[in-house]
Amino acid sequence: MKVNGVQRAAPDDTRLLLSDHLRQELGLTGTHVGCEHGVCGCCTVLLDGAPVRSCLMLAVQAEGHDVTTIEGLARDGSALHPVQQAFHECHALQCGFCTPGFVMSVVGLLAQHPHPTEQEVDEGIAGNLCRCTGYASIRRAVTRAAELNSSPHVGKSGPKGRDGA
């Protein structure tokens, strides 16, 4: 499988969840595990560009696919991805635990709806739980990210992410 653009070996243990493989075997601890039954969305990653729950996939199932994690969205030292930048500007994170999952979901949402309506925003981020923010600032961040995405002044990282997506 390719993870953030880099070819990685398949796991030996076929019962390993993709979330555990990313965190434990590949050291990509930005993907968080919040419930392990697919409800909280903390573990959301992009599989071939579309957001999925990494706790609801076996790692071995990602063979032959491109996986993008939060670490793959903006290279170290480079500017934040527009979605990340919007989250920062809008104070859309507090403890930061749900944040990578939200960011990945929003990347998917904006790929599907580059200029989402209020309802599309709500439905696009429903599916990720946040216990800190009450969602208001996350809604604002989605709208802001859509602006940043369509702004010529912002680096064209695009809604699909920079690597592998």
Binding site: R15, G41, T44, L47, P51, M57, L58, S105, G108, A126
Partner: protein, 250 residues
């Protein structure tokens, strides 16, 4: 919350999957995994063998046939949601898909998997039933078509044989008026109660061990819904009447 040990199989064809199913004891088909893997993580399901059909090529098509739309085994729910063919031929299915969990789940979950899982509170089995659709089941013994009315046997139970794979679901075209209305606690949750109207046919979900057809004039007749934390039998019957009225008001 880690899955118990199992033997993992990744067949390259439906025939190979059927072979495995016919020879292995206690095997389970893994499609989208959005229901099965939570059960594994809770260790509520402990199959000895998992047969992952996700590597099988050529079974991810949506196409028109027989005045309806066929959805193959590996078609993700999101693909159906976005499909122009589905929107044209069976817009009821498009509407219903949008009520299934959330987009991120639909990116991975499959239509056929949802039907085979046969959750009584799930939308898609009820849509199939309301429309009078059918599924195609395949095994080493051959292929057969099972009508929706003969498919759902109980809570999480279908009439699929243990060695059969559900390879295709077929939804007849939905002509107006149609609607799917459900009452759920949160957006994307399973329904406390739901109704699907396809012309003058009415199917209910969340109120019986399987989706059921009902008389729109007296939809709650004969039902004995179960009780859970969010709905009593009475409340479910009440909701069914309210939702049916809404569905047939237009």
């Amino acid at each position: 919350m880690k899955p118990p040990p199992f033997a993992y199989h990744a067949p390259g064809s439906i025939d190979e999957a059927c072979n495995l199913l016919s020879t292995l004891e206690d095997a389970k088909v893994l499609a989208g995994g959005q229901s099965l893997i939570p059960l594994l993580n809770f260790r509520l399901a402990r199959p000895q063998h998992l047969i992952d059909i996700n590597r099988i090529a050529g079974v991810d098509r949506i196409y028109e046939r027989d005045g309806g739309v066929a959805v193959q085994a590996l078609v993700r729910q999101a693909a159906v949601e976005d499909s122009d063919v589905v929107a044209r031929v069976c817009p009821l299915l498009t509407d219903a898909i949008r009520l299934v969990a959330h987009r991120v789940i639909r990116n991975r979950g499959t239509v056929c998997g949802s039907i085979a899982h046969a959750d009584p509170a799930s939308e898609l089995p009820a849509v199939l039933l309301a429309l009078g659709g059918s599924v195609v089941a395949k095994s080493t013994r051959g292929e057969r078509v099972i009508g929706a009315g003969a498919l759902f046997a109980g809570v999480f139970e279908t009439t699929l044989a243990p060695d059969e794979v559900l390879v295709e679901a077929w939804f007849p075209s939905s002509s107006k008026p149609y609607s799917v209305i459900e009452e759920s606690r949160r957006h994307g949750d399973f329904a406390l109660a739901g109704v699907v109207r396809a012309s003058d046919r009415l199917a209910l979900f969340g109120v019986a061990p399987t989706p059921v057809l009902a008389d729109p004039r007296d939809p709650a007749r004969g039902l004995e819904p179960s009780r859970d934390l969010e709905a009593s039998p009475d409340f479910r019957l009440h909701l069914i009447r309210v939702l049916t009225e809404q569905a047939f008001a237009a």
